[in-house]
């Protein structure tokens, strides 16, 4: 497998595309690329950008999404276009798929459709890893994953990211070949010989006593311990629902709900998106009824410590393989929490994988990955506030 990266922060989106794609093509030399992954900040999400990239790349498959910032070896950029070109070995193959207009279907149906399309032509070969990019504003990310897993298998390694915008939560974009899309989910399936390792961690710690979700529906928690769900936050922060609503984003980032999963070490985090009039909490990702939950607390240090663990796990997974590429899907909430210290997370990644190991990443509104990364992977979950590190290796 050969890797090449291109990056530009030129303000003119056409020039930026030309620069970045040009760099990546030159980097790969005479080797033909099999896949392009493009991540851009929101202002580069333009049909012309994809058209130019597609023309320059000679029609090879393109996959990607928008973000509030892009991550490369050079730094974290609030304005930028980054492209990754991958040339696969002869024993590796891939298949791309897309599902459009997710909101017009149920999320689980959209997930099933994507899973089915990903498997197209790959049913009789060994499948290794699936990478998906979904609209970050899809409300039920969990069902989408469940739908995909129905076709790919419950313990199939599914790594993904939910696209983000510049915290406006207005529109996020997905890139599929020449198409600039919203309200969609695109993905790819790697088959054959591919070496990878991943790690996903958040760093938030549980605080206070366990409570139970006594009534829930998808991503809406209606009652906790028989009381309107919002009471949990009202109680803990001594504020009424109206006051909470004013500071909801901050509270949600610093103090999300943690779902206790039987047999798992990490709690699964859920951000609160909004509070309904009846006191229900709408979360980013589902919370099953009867789930034991706790309020979580995070600090900059615990966040950074989680980044170390996540990277080390991904590296350990690769074993003796040399890391050829590191892909990072980092939660937008962590970007807010870490503030001007967010570059320290990048320093951690570089310290674990090496300063010059090709690195590409984005900030996301949700991360998809199994909780366990070593031995038995278990099912993939929809995560919030986590750093999801995927390392691809080779000799």
């Amino acid at each position: 497998m050969n890797i090449s990266l291109g990056f530009s922060e030129n303000k003119d989106h056409i020039q930026a595309t030309n620069e970045a794609v040009g760099q990546a093509i030159v980097g790969l030399g005479k080797i033909r690329a099999d896949l392009a992954i493009i991540f851009t900040t929101i202002e580069f999400a333009h049909p012309l950008v994809l058209k130019i990239a597609n023309n320059l790349l000679g029609g090879i498959p393109i996959l990607g999404c928008s973000s509030l910032g892009v991550i490369t070896n050079k730094g974290i950029f609030k304005h930028g276009f980054v492209i990754l070109l991958i040339s696969l070995g002869q024993q590796t193959f891939l298949n791309l798929a897309l599902v459009k207009e997710v909101s017009k279907k149920t999320c689980i149906a959209a997930g099933r459709e994507l899973g089915e399309k990903l498997l197209y032509g790959c049913k009789d070969v060994r499948r290794n890893l699936s990478l998906i990019f979904s609209d970050g504003l899809i409300s039920d990310g969990t069902s989408l994953i469940n739908g995909v897993q129905e076709n790919l298998g419950r313990s199939f390694p599914l790594i993904g990211a939910s696209a983000s915008d510049n915290f406006a939560f207005a529109k996020t974009f997905q890139y599929f070949n020449k198409e600039l899309l919203t309200d969609s989910c695109c993905g790819l399936l790697f088959g054959g010989k591919i070496n990878f390792g991943f790690g996903i961690k958040h760093g938030w710690k549980a605080l206070g006593k366990i409570r139970y979700v006594t009534r829930a529906e998808g991503n809406i928690i209606k009652e906790i311990n028989g009381e309107p769900a919002v009471r949990l936050y009202e109680d803990y922060f001594a504020k009424d629902a109206l006051e909470l609503a004013k500071e909801l984003r901050r509270i949600s980032i610093f103090y999300p709900i943690g779902i206790y999963l039987q047999g798992e070490k990490e709690y699964l985090l859920r951000n609160i998106i909004s509070i309904k009039d009846d006191g229900s909490l709408i979360t980013q990702g589902d919370i099953p009824q009867d789930s034991p939950i706790r309020l979580m607390i995070g600090t900059k240090d615990s966040c950074l410590a989680a980044a170390v663990t996540s990277c080390e796990e991904a590296k350990r997974n690769l074993g003796a393989q040399r890391t050829k590429l590191v892909m990072v899907f980092d939660s937008a909430s962590r970007f807010t929490l870490l503030g001007r210290h967010c570059s320290r997370e990048l320093e951690i990644i570089k310290a674990v994988f090496g300063e010059n190991t090709p690195l590409i990443g984005i900030y996301t509104y949700g991360e998809q990955a199994p909780l366990k990364s070593i031995n038995y992977l278990g099912r993939a979950y929809f995560h919030n506030q986590s750093i999801n590190v995927l390392a691809l290796g080779g000799q």
């Binding site: 915290f167 406006a168 901050r250 807010t336």
Partner: protein
């Protein structure tokens, strides 16, 4: 047997009772423990609540502090950039997307009120395209009263606090397409005032008092810089006008100077040719007068001799005058090469005194010279500088009454030697002192009626001194005497 069984039964019952009692006791203890655990769990939960609340406050404070630190840092850089700008439009160009983003916003507009057009005009546009800006400009001008009131009151408006008499938050959100905003007046002392708007679509942004303060400081800085720029513009314009005037006057003066030069050259040429033309017949007149006086054409009666001698004397005077004129003309036109050499000043002074000793003696005038050691060597053309001394001492002699004094003094300052020719003569009237170096100028007084002169001597002296890169001037008081001073370089 029965009683035995009964006893055993009673014992069993008693032991069971004891066992049950102890079990109940233990259960009660367990219940107590559970209760205690529950209580401590509740306590811990309460503590957790306290921790959460404290943590939230700390986070808020930390966030606010972080924002302030980075905000102040950016503001300092921005202020430095802005304050060095002296052009009105350039001031706003210094506010870049990068600065704005670092302050936590991605959209900004600045409007200045034009008193002339009676409307707000955009000077800064970040995060909006031209059509959006035009649309906002139209809307702002429709509601201009509100914005003008805000500027007049000097208050700010933001999504955290909006004055009662200003537009509603929703209207601002809708117009500027943002979720949070700050509007601050730009208050300039002179000229058009305006306001700066900053906003963000970021849902996570919560405008704080600190941020509002920062933008107010920025707006004030812009106001001050606008004042500076306008003042500079005003000064610059006056300076430009002045420069144009100076240039025009210089051009006029140069023209006049050229004209004067041309006239002067024409005058010199005229004098030179006329003098040459005069010298030829004068030589003939003198020659013939000499022949007649010598009696080569027969004896000459006394009366005729007297007349011939007068012709001869006047011809000499005329020759002298013509020579002076020619010299002046030559020096003026640069035709005379000064043969500069190191000369002994004392020697020259003594030589002049010796030359004029007869007249000095006749008029009983005391002559003295005071030339210090360091003034002895001067750099000059021997024949020309001797003429200067002869003219000046000769003049002093002419205008100093009997028993008067004439002295030559010298003093040195650096490389320059100043020579003063001092007399105790009649003096020169103040109004004539400026003109005495002009050609043909003679002070009109009784003494001059008696004392003969061409009015060219001092003019010639001035030309010679200036040809030596020196300067000449006079100080005089009527009835007390005159001091003619001139400078030469030391050898």
């Amino acid at each position: 047997m029965l009683s035995f069984i009964f006893i055993v039964f009673c014992l069993i019952i008693a032991s069971l009772g004891v066992f049950l009692l102890s079990k109940v006791q233990k259960l009660k203890e367990k219940e107590k423990q559970v209760e205690a655990l529950k209580a401590s769990l509740e306590e811990m939960d309460e503590q957790a609540k306290l921790i959460m609340r404290t943590d939230m406050e700390l986070n808020k404070t930390q966030e606010e502090l972080d924002k302030k630190i980075s905000g102040l840092d950016i503001l300092q850089k921005l202020s430095r950039d802005i304050s060095t700008t002296l052009e009105e439009k350039q001031i706003f160009k210094k506010i870049s997307n990068e600065y704005l983003e670092d302050l936590g916003f991605e959209r900004s507009l600045a409007f200045l009120w034009s008193d002339l057009k009676k409307e707000f005009h955009p000077y800064l546009n970040l995060g909006y395209d031209d059509s959006e800006t035009e649309k906002i400009k139209t809307a702002v001008n429709l509601d201009k009263g509100y914005y003008l009131d805000l500027i007049r009151s000097g208050r700010s408006a933001s999504s955290a606090f909006i004055p009662d008499d200003f537009l509603t938050k929703d209207k601002i959100y809708q117009l500027f397409q943002v979720r949070s905003f700050i509007i601050c007046p730009i208050l300039a002392q002179e000229g058009d005032q305006g306001f700066i708007f900053v906003g963000t679509q970021n849902l996570e942004t919560c405008i704080t008092e600190g941020e509002q303060e920062l933008i107010t400081i920025l707006a004030n800085q812009i106001g001050q810089t606008l004042d500076n720029a306008r003042l500079f513009e005003k000064t610059w314009r006056s300076q430009q006008e002045l420069e144009i005037k100076v240039e025009e006057r210089t051009r006029q003066l140069t023209q006049a100077l050229d004209e004067v030069g041309k006239i002067s050259k024409r005058k010199s040429d005229f004098i030179s040719s006329v003098s040459h033309e005069l010298r030829t017949p004068l030589t003939s007149i003198k020659g013939y007068a000499a022949i007649l006086l010598a009696g080569k054409l027969g004896s000459v009666p006394d009366e005729i001799r007297n007349r011939l001698e007068k012709i001869n004397r006047h011809s000499d005077e005329l020759v002298h005058m013509v020579n002076d004129l020619l010299d002046i003309s030559r020096i003026e036109s640069g035709k005379v090469n000064m043969n500069m050499e190191g000369l002994d000043l004392k020697y020259i002074a003594d030589k002049v005194a010796d030359l004029l000793s007869e007249q000095l003696k006749t008029k009983n005038i005391t002559f003295s010279s005071n030339i210090p050691e360091d003034c002895q060597k001067i750099l000059a053309d021997r024949s020309q500088i001797e003429r200067v001394f002869i003219n000046l001492v000769g003049n002093a002699l002419k205008f100093t009454p009997e028993k008067g004094k004439i002295s030559i003094n010298a003093q040195r300052s650096g490389r320059v030697i100043q020579i003063d020719v001092i007399d105790t003569g009649f003096g020169i009237p103040e109004d004539a002192q400026d003109k005495i170096f002009e050609e043909f100028f003679r002070v009109e007084n009784a003494i001059n009626q008696e004392v003969k002169g061409t009015g060219l001597g001092l003019a010639l002296v001035k030309h010679i001194v200036e040809a030596h890169q020196g300067r000449i001037w006079v100080k005089s008081k009527l009835s007390e005497g005159s001091t003619f001073s001139f400078t030469l370089y030391a050898a």
